[in-house]
Subunit: 696 residues, 2 copies
């Protein structure tokens, strides 16, 4: 660093003020010197099925015992009966937090009086009644000690959170059951009676006031914590984050409440955050992606006074109900990240998790992390595409409420009225008219989607006795660079790629006729602005209908000497189906050229036209991107069926790149065929095979 005397002067001045005497105001490690807390009590095992069968209930009383035992055997706690050695192996063992009964008043911070009374009533009911109750309610069982266990579980959560919030311990884990996160204000649900975590959060808020005003509850149980969400849905001081399997509302507890668009309401809007996995099977990479990109930035911005983890371990690898693959190392990483918040005040409370080994290993990893052990390394951290997609969708939705979230979702939706496929097509029409005098063919719209208006352009000689090239293509590719902050697109930062016009130019130059058909990816006008739309499911049928209509009205009746079909992308579907479903059309067609990047390679074959697939194999060029699954599927190692045509591996990836790369090849093939007498002979194919690698 170049030193200027002015800079140095001010540094010296600044530094001359400094004396080590005013340093070191806070000495020692005030928090790290405290122990991690552990809450466990054998009496929470008393809640169990009155009449156990071979069909053991997954919410098995032994769950908490095995976790506790695992922690003892790792030498983290002093319990001579279980610990491997009577002396713990950790220099600073876990500190016991005693459970107690939650009071009626505490439970009623979340639950109705009726609900409390109902659970209380079960302690005096005969076995038969208890079994009947089990059948009339959603996923719960009772015995006469259920009430007692539920009170202890809630009380354990309360004491654990209070001990952490008041810094009696550094942080803590509560190995408690029955779980709580599904229990709603007025009902038991999903193995849950009282909502332990919600009750504990409300007690901390009430009892500690400003010192514990903002609470973040992070729920990584594989199921959505509907009860917690409901308890704080309009509370601006409780940020509830749940990461769970949603599966379109079909995964327990079901319904739409677990979806990403449930963001809180009233004063609590933006303080509810669901990350709804589209399916089971999620793993470390997915959870890490969600934590790093979404959960931690928002949590840091929220800046809670206390973090409570509703810690189900049923997303753990090995849990069959959850069907996910989160490793103990990943639980450790998530815990470690949370420990940056609230000056380390993290209280972990057990919720679900049904595989003894998985929950024990996971809980041990979490406990060690709380005690200061660094997380083990993760072997795989790649997020899957479905996970990235949903996390980024949640980010966009939450960007409205959190300054740290980008990109900001676009606003002013009502103003955006013109879809770009129309804008582009009009531009193309004008360009193609100006350059080549292509004009629109009239489409009778009653039978064909009106989205095809303007989509079929033809050169003036389309019905003359010249070679005719019919191109079915997907819309041009767009590229747009969003403003990095506002996320706006601006016309001068957006671009279009449209290589088809190069082909049209070549054809016109050769005096061939052209029919250019653009197949929009959405065929009907709708108003779903603001979310990414998938392709229209109805497109193939509509495309086929259009192809048939064109054939009947404009192609079949004309005098073309040769007809070539070029199908680009998924728009080829229409061509393929025309060949398959219209008898003998193929005899009128010279050949078919098709480009396939991502979509499936279409078979052209028909039970009623036995020669079709042979004809197709002999009279087609099918360029398939080298990254296409076709080339990597071991089942295709054998020579592919002739129904797929003459398959050629393209060294390029995208449709436009492929079109550009193979233009000379395609044009040469067409010119050779035009110049060869007859159309069904194999002609001169050497030119083609020299350049592209044919599948064998």
């Amino acid at each position: 660093m170049a030193k200027s005397s002015e800079e140095s002067d001010s540094i010296m001045e600044e530094n001359s003020d400094w004396s080590a005497d005013d340093a070191a105001s806070s000495s020692g490690l005030t928090v790290a010197s405290l122990a991690t807390g552990l809450c466990y009590d054998i009496r929470m095992r008393y809640h169990c099925e009155v009449r156990p069968t071979a069909d053991v209930h997954p919410e098995d009383p032994r769950r908490i015992y095995y976790i506790y035992k695992e922690i003892c055997r790792a030498g983290l706690v002093e319990d001579p009966e279980i610990a491997a050695s009577s002396k713990p192996l950790a220099p600073h063992p876990l500190q016991r937090i005693d459970v107690r009964d939650a009071t009626e008043e505490e439970v009623q911070l979340v639950h109705t009086d009726e609900h409390f009374k109902f659970v209380e009533s079960t302690r005096n009911l005969p076995d038969e009644t208890l079994i009947l109750l089990e059948e009339s309610r959603d996923s719960i069982y009772f015995n006469r000690l259920t009430f007692a266990s539920a009170l202890l579980s809630a009380g354990g959560a309360i004491e654990t959170c209070l001990a952490v919030a008041t810094r009696k311990v550094k942080n803590a884990i509560a190995v408690i059951r029955p779980p709580g996160h599904h229990a709603e204000h007025d009902k038991t649900m999903g193995f849950c009676l009282f909502n332990n975590v919600s009750i504990a959060a409300k007690v901390c808020q009430r009892q500690l006031g400003e010192m514990c005003r903002k609470i973040m509850i992070i729920d990584w149980d594989v199921h959505h914590g509907n009860g917690i969400q409901k308890a704080f849905y309009d509370d601006p001081n409780v940020l509830y984050i749940s990461i769970h399997v949603y599966a379109d509302g079909k995964f327990y507890p079901g319904g739409k409440e677990g979806n990403w668009d449930y963001v809180g309401e009233g004063a609590g809007i933006g303080k509810n955050l669901n990350i709804p996995w589209p399916s089971q099977g999620m793993g470390d990479g997915d959870y890490m992606f969600a934590f790093q990109q979404l959960i931690m930035p928002i949590a840091t911005e929220f800046d809670p006074d206390l973090v409570i983890v509703a810690s189900g371990f049923d997303a753990a690898a090995g849990d069959e109900l959850g069907g996910c693959f989160v490793t103990p190392a990943c639980y450790a990483h998530m815990t470690h990240m949370l420990m940056t918040l609230a000056n380390g005040k993290v209280a972990v409370c057990l919720e679900g998790g049904y595989n003894f080994r998985s929950i024990s290993k996971s809980a041990l990893a979490v406990t060690k992390t709380l005690m200061g052990e660094p997380p083990a390394r993760l072997t795989a951290t790649t997020a899957s595409n479905p996970a990235v997609q949903i996390v980024r969708r949640v980010m966009a939705a939450q960007s409205k409420y959190w300054r740290c979230m980008y990109p900001k979702a676009p606003a002013q939706e009502g103003l955006f009225t013109d879809r770009f496929h129309d804008v582009i097509r009009q531009y193309q029409a004008k360009q193609l008219y100006d350059s080549y005098k292509l004009t629109s063919l009239w489409i009778y719209r009653a039978t064909i989607s009106k989205s095809f208006e303007n989509q079929v352009l033809a050169s003036p000689n389309y019905d003359k006795a010249v070679p005719l090239i019919v191109i079915f293509h997907d819309p041009p590719e767009m590229m747009g660079i969003h403003h990095p902050i506002t996320n706006k697109l601006e016309p001068h930062n957006c671009w279009m790629a449209d290589v088809v016009k190069e082909y049209i130019g070549w054809a016109i130059q050769n005096n061939y006729a052209i029919v250019d058909v653009n197949i929009p990816k959405h065929l009907t006008v709708d108003t779903g602005i603001g979310r990414y739309e998938e392709e229209d499911g109805d497109r193939p049928t509509q495309t086929e209908e259009l192809a048939g209509y064109l054939w009947d009205n404009y192609l079949e009746p004309n005098e073309a000497t040769h007809i070539f079909f070029i199908g680009i992308g998924d728009a080829f579907y229409g061509v393929a189906n025309l060949l398959i479903n219209r008898d003998s059309i193929y005899q009128r067609i010279n050949s078919v050229i098709s480009f396939v990047a991502e979509n499936p390679v279409r078979a052209v074959a028909s039970p009623t036209q036995t020669w079709l697939s042979r004809w197709y194999k002999d009279n087609s060029l099918v360029f398939v991107s080298h990254v296409h699954g076709l080339w990597h599927n071991t089942e295709n190692r054998r020579k592919p069926s002739k129904r797929y045509g003459r398959l050629l591996q393209s060294p390029k990836t995208g449709l436009n790149e492929m079109l550009m790369h193979h233009k000379t090849e395609v044009c040469g093939w067409i010119e050779t065929r035009v110049n060869t007498r007859g159309s069904s002979e194999e002609g001169d194919e050497d030119a083609v095979e020299a350049e592209s690698k044919e599948a064998v």
Copy 2:
């Protein structure tokens, strides 16, 4: 969770296999039981200026002493001479790591033989020669103990990294000097002689082999670590991440090497990551944003065997050279995040930092975090816009190399040839012709940018004796939803908002004439695809030229009964300058309506046309978005000057929203003026003032 007997069976089966006996294989806290290491030696203070002046050099020998003293006084180390009490306050005090001389062979892992020999030679030079050397080199001083100190500093870094990598300590901090990260293979630079961190990394790789193959070096010194970047630029096993002030290459060490597009080369491509702050003044929110969104995801994916921090504390609040505002709490957070990596193997080595208080407090916070103390809470975590912009730019650049980075930058650049402002304008021209018979006015292009082709459209009666409305507007707004994974834009997911056409429709219906002028934001064709482009700087001049051209050729000579100018967005600039620079034009104009969302409100006044601003105040409507700075600037509390026209606060934010909202108002105002005899009277303004709030 609804229990099906099938599920329960498999759980039972799974769980019956489980016995606690095979659990707890790894007992105790193997890493957390180790101490944090501290490397410090008083002999590194011997390197100092031979002839100190009042002008003290910022790289002051006392730097390391004050840091060490601060750590002692916090009770974290046993040193009876300095520690507050003879017994450390931490239950597990810091463990000493002894420095040693780096060997010649070790230094030469990074530096040339000549370079080593040169530094060695300084130990025998007379004072005068040493001072001369100082003047001939970039920011460095020498004395006869410089070489000894530099060897100890490099040796300290080596021993510290080895101790961490071989798990002799949990993690460590090395309080060493002279610093190293600017030193290149063949030169001293920026207070640095030997590149301590680079040497240590190479020694670890060589000495520990596979156990320490992948090393991440994170450099949060406020200056770019050019020496480290160079040492590993083609090394795939060393990920170098530097977060520093860049200021367009004007901040030390200067040049382009610190920019985001230096991503490594050869096998090391993608393993160099620069986060170049555009200016000083960055703070906690900016650093947290970079860490959370960019650094930690990539670091996690890299999965290093060892993390070395090139830890300058000159981005700390209080450091005048750095000019940034990072707090000790933020350094603690960054350290805590890094501790998730490499199973906690983090070695922090001091680089720059020149304010004694700032570096001591920062180093103490880092040390406490390494020892297990949770980071203090951050009061502010909002990233500034410039920071977000650069971080997101780096993310896009790095998305090519890291699976975890989204959005992926668009590929296939060469194919994207058509800019959308052309596509859109052609569409608009077609629409406006079809609906209202607007056609293009011929623009003589030699004097005016050819980007204005097609941008001026007029109704057939533009030269007739009717009221004429001339609209200058920015291009329509676009909205596009990227595919969440591929980041592609597709035409059916992109939309356009264009409210101007509503105004044109109204005018045509009233039989008024219309001239519609679209001002593209880029006036010349260029090929800067792939990065977000700012508006063209030349635009105002070109717009003014166009406005003058239109006035001379199409507006002034015609017979319009009334001329109204509407200026929308920044396109209004052309109108304002026309009024200012052309004498007496304003007398021909009935009035001006302007809409301002983000850009400055333009003054219309001229020293040569004294009545202009009065006229403007009386004959204008200037709608300014309610979020515009104008309304929030205290200097504007007093009545704004009449040169800004009649200012009206709009309740809307964006231009299109404002246009929509005030349409009735604007149309009413124009109609009233058309129906009132004479154009300079104030007319009936009540209708306007009833709806919008005029500035007072």
